[in-house]
């Protein structure tokens, strides 16, 4: 339930006009617990990530006892490793298909359709979609594992139509985890877009309607431009959330078969903890972190959320 949504303009704090010497430091004091916690447990791992990726630390063997500083060796190895580039591609596919396209398009479609249907259907369908999002991630992962398993629900349903389904998690692991992530995350986009659509004054679209614009034209030419900020924010947030997905893939496919569904977080875990190459795994984590950071900066720069 990671949720960040555009919010309303807030009244904004009124600042106290007078300043006295020494006061500033005192005023900052309440920030201390939060700053200390974030410095140690948030900035700490980030810095450690950079440092650790420059060592050959291992979980076992001589290099566990005495890791050495190896400079950029891990990165050199990483960029020459086909596995890594495959993971990059899989991550891009996973994020692109499940977040950018899947969750956003389905979320928008649901938001539009729910606004154009009766109250009962609206509450029931939206409640079901939201429950999938509220469930703990590991439970959602089990539910979808069961859904896509060889003797699972999907293949049973196909069986009613005399079709023999493939072993989804083996034959189409990426498709399975992409659909799973759409199932799990669509509610978020749906709610964001629903809130955004509620803000579009009906008079405007009605006016366009009278001018003879079709539904699609009204949507593309009027609605979309009016909610473009919500769209770009949502795209960015779902992208970042999906980039960090581990549990869903780990439970459903374990990154396999082979490495067919090993996205960057899964690859980092495997390299560090299964193959005991902590330094190498840390280098992968650092790259993932940098990708996330770039996205965040783009988001902050492009959208310029007012921090007021």
């Amino acid at each position: 339930m990671t949720s960040l949504v555009l919010g309303a303009r807030t009244p904004g704090g009124v600042r106290r006009p007078r300043r006295r010497p020494g006061r500033a430091a005192l005023r900052l004091l309440p920030l201390l617990p939060a700053v200390v916690l974030m410095a140690v447990f948030l900035a700490g791992p980030v810095l450690w990530s950079f440092y650790g990726s420059l060592t050959n630390q291992a979980l076992t063997g001589y290099r566990a006892a005495a890791p050495e500083f190896v400079g950029l060796d891990n990165y050199t190895a990483l960029f020459g490793d086909g596995q890594f580039w495959k993971a990059v591609v899989l991550t891009v596919v996973f994020v692109g298909a499940s977040a950018v396209v899947g969750q956003n398009v389905l979320g928008m479609a649901l938001a539009l359709m729910l606004r154009a249907t009766g109250r009962v259907l609206r509450s029931v369908v939206s409640a079901i979609v939201v429950v999938a999002w509220v469930l703990p991630e590991i439970v959602a992962a089990f539910a979808l594992y069961a859904f896509f398993a060889t003797d699972g629900t999907l293949n049973n349903v196909l069986g009613w139509f005399e079709l023999t389904g493939p072993t989804w998690l083996i034959t189409f692991p990426m498709l399975a985890v992409i659909l799973a992530n759409i199932w799990r995350g669509t509610a978020f986009s749906m709610m964001v877009y629903d809130a955004a659509l509620a803000e579009v004054p009906p008079e405007i679209t009605e006016a366009a309607s009278i001018d003879g614009a079709t539904g699609a034209q009204r949507f593309l030419r009027i609605t979309v431009p009016m909610i473009r900020r919500a769209i770009s924010t949502n795209l960015m947030l779902t992208t970042l959330q999906t980039l960090a997905v581990f549990t869903l893939i780990w439970v459903m496919t374990g990154g396999g078969p082979g490495t067919s569904s090993s996205t960057l977080p899964v690859l980092a875990y495997q390299e560090a903890f299964k193959f005991a190459q902590v330094g190498y795994g840390t280098a992968i984590a650092t790259v993932t972190l940098l990708v996330g950071a770039v996205f965040s900066i783009v988001y902050i720069r492009v959208l310029k959320p007012e921090v007021d």
């Binding site: 617990p33 447990f41 939201v130 469930l135 089990f142 581990f246």
Partner: protein
């Protein structure tokens, strides 16, 4: 203006416009929409239905099916301290600790950010915003290495601190926005009475933003409750492991034979967050509803 606030909407908003006299074309359109919605609803429902039906099925399999007979045996079999209650208790301790610490730290931090004009306020808030976006799961490998050095592995408070630190950026952001909506004029009265800023915060501001604090608390609690990867890497002994990890272990060691019990455990584990979600909706029903929150 795009400040970020929590998703505190009642599921979806009610459209302002209801079509008056439906034309035949519109009626087919509506029927089409209804059919598609029912289809999507069923597709989303089926995996959920599996959890509920398998939990009640004495012979559960991986496929959703109506049990031939209903039973509570799956539940009674897992109703043991080691299997279910201790992990759930650990989850409650970890999530509760995280939520309390986060709320305390973020209310304190939000006050100067909301009330004072400071030179570094803007950069600080941008940094916070940046922090909310970092892919935390990518960090678990370095986090493990850091915890080795801090001597905090398999340590519940250590895990709570980490979870707190990762939820703080979001929580500070939310709390600050909630605090911004509390008028300063009310505190001024307290200042006149000679109260310090912290007293004003405790006596005036916090009571006024109680629903907002509840939203932050529940939000953080739910996130920590559902988190699997962090305790999976940082906590080892069964005495410390929360339900998310216990349930994964159960899947690993009994999974292929005991789907009914797995589903029953999953259900017990999910109920608290579903209840909390309903609570959020109640708290947020009024002033914090997201409807009308997104502007172009």
């Amino acid at each position: 203006m795009t400040a970020m606030t929590p998703t505190t909407t009642s599921v979806v908003t009610t459209p302002r416009r209801t079509p008056s006299v439906a034309s035949p074309r519109r009626r087919t359109g509506r029927a089409f929409v209804a059919v598609v919605l029912i289809g999507v609803g069923v597709a989303f429902l089926v995996p959920l239905a599996w959890i509920v039906l398998a939990a009640l099925d004495p012979a559960a399999t991986v496929s959703v099916k109506l049990p031939e007979s209903f039973t509570l045996d799956n539940f009674s079999q897992i109703m043991t301290w080691d299997q279910t209650f201790r992990p759930l208790w650990n989850s409650a301790v970890i999530s509760g600790g995280t939520a309390i610490l986060t709320v305390l730290a973020s209310v304190l931090a939000a006050y100067p950010l909301s009330r004072y004009q400071m030179r570094f306020r803007k950069p600080f808030l941008y940094a916070i915003l940046f922090g909310t976006c970092l892919p935390i799961t990518a960090m678990m490998v370095p986090v493990y290495a850091l915890f080795v050095n801090l001597g905090l592995l398999d340590n519940v408070p250590g895990t709570v601190f980490f979870l707190t630190a990762t939820s703080l950026p979001m929580a500070i952001w939310m709390t600050k926005n909630f605090m911004d909506s509390v008028p300063v004029s009310l505190e001024e009265a307290a200042w006149v009475d000679g109260a310090g800023s912290m007293t004003a915060l405790a006596r005036v501001v916090v009571p006024l933003m109680r629903p907002g604090i509840a939203v932050v608390f529940i939000f953080v609690f739910t996130q920590a409750w559902g988190n699997f990867f962090v305790p999976f890497v940082l906590l080892f002994s069964p005495g410390n492991q929360p339900a998310a990890v216990a349930i994964y272990n159960f899947f690993g060691t009994y999974g292929t034979i005991a789907y009914g019990r797995l589903a029953a455990f999953s259900l017990l584990y999910s109920v608290p967050v579903l209840v909390l979600y309903l609570l959020v909706q109640r708290f947020s029903g009024g002033s914090f509803a997201m409807s009308g929150a997104v502007k172009g």
